[in-house]
């Protein structure tokens, strides 16, 4: 198992494991936003805006994993 093989496996693991938790978190946040909009339809604009910003912050975790995977595949300093 040379560094190249390990890097490929690590890249796959990084993205697959790293996107479980953000996906769950985003599901919960959208559900909470739906609840809030249902309870107060006139605040739907503010709630939707805050939801999008929150989703972007959560999504960033998955993007970090993607960047590590990309670095392993394309800019790997050990291979």
């Amino acid at each position: 198992m040379d560094a190249k093989t390990i890097s490929i496996i690590a890249a796959a693991l990084a993205v697959s494991i790293g996107s479980i938790a953000p996906a769950l978190g985003e599901g919960r946040s959208v559900a909470a936003a739906m609840d809030a909009i249902a309870r107060q339809p006139e605040a739907a604009g503010t709630i939707a805006r805050t939801l999008f910003v929150g989703l972007a912050m959560i999504e960033t975790m998955a993007i970090y994993c993607l960047v590590i995977a990309l670095m392993l595949l394309f800019a790997n300093p050990y291979v």
Partner: protein, 222 residues
Amino acid sequence: MTQPSPLSSPALLHLGSLPITAPVILTWAIMTVLALGSWVLTRRPSTQLSRSQVLLELLVTGMADQIKQITRKDPLPVLPLLATLFLFLLAANVSGLVPGLQAPTGRLETPAALALIVFGAVHYFGVRARGLLGYLASFAKPKLIMLPLNLLSEITRTFSLMVRLFGNVMSGEFLIALVLALAGLLVPIPLMALELLIGSVQAYIFSVLATVFIGAAASSLE
């Protein structure tokens, strides 16, 4: 990989010893179109509203209202920077869908440059609102123990702005190219629609986060 790396862009031409890559050329093209278009559309404003003037006023007042809602202060000083950021990002992210072009924000340099601009703007507006000593002192609020954390958060906030924009746009492009190579010509069309949505949302997110950071730095509440 059979495809070129998404982290590098080959130089298309050289200005002296400076390599000019495709994203740079496309960025200049977008800048020219936006600047010339704005100049042409705002040459003769009048109270007899034409359609383009109504559209522009809608756009500008809409953005000014959003900024005002977030910063709770007069939006005019920050409006040029943030509105230009939003419009440029919208144009840049969507330009990747034009066949033959690749989005300049899909390469690491453009998001890095924009994140650095936001970094500089946060400090500029913070110093302008609070004075140099007041702004520096705000890093030690609410307790002195927060000083290293606040300094670290400056760096990580800027880094995450860059990575978020780059990751979203690049992965969309990459996916479309991959599906195109594997499945056929018309298969990526739903992915392109998703890319349109994601590009617009990321442009909005980048601008909103920049607004929040500038508002936090310039607020005199804490």
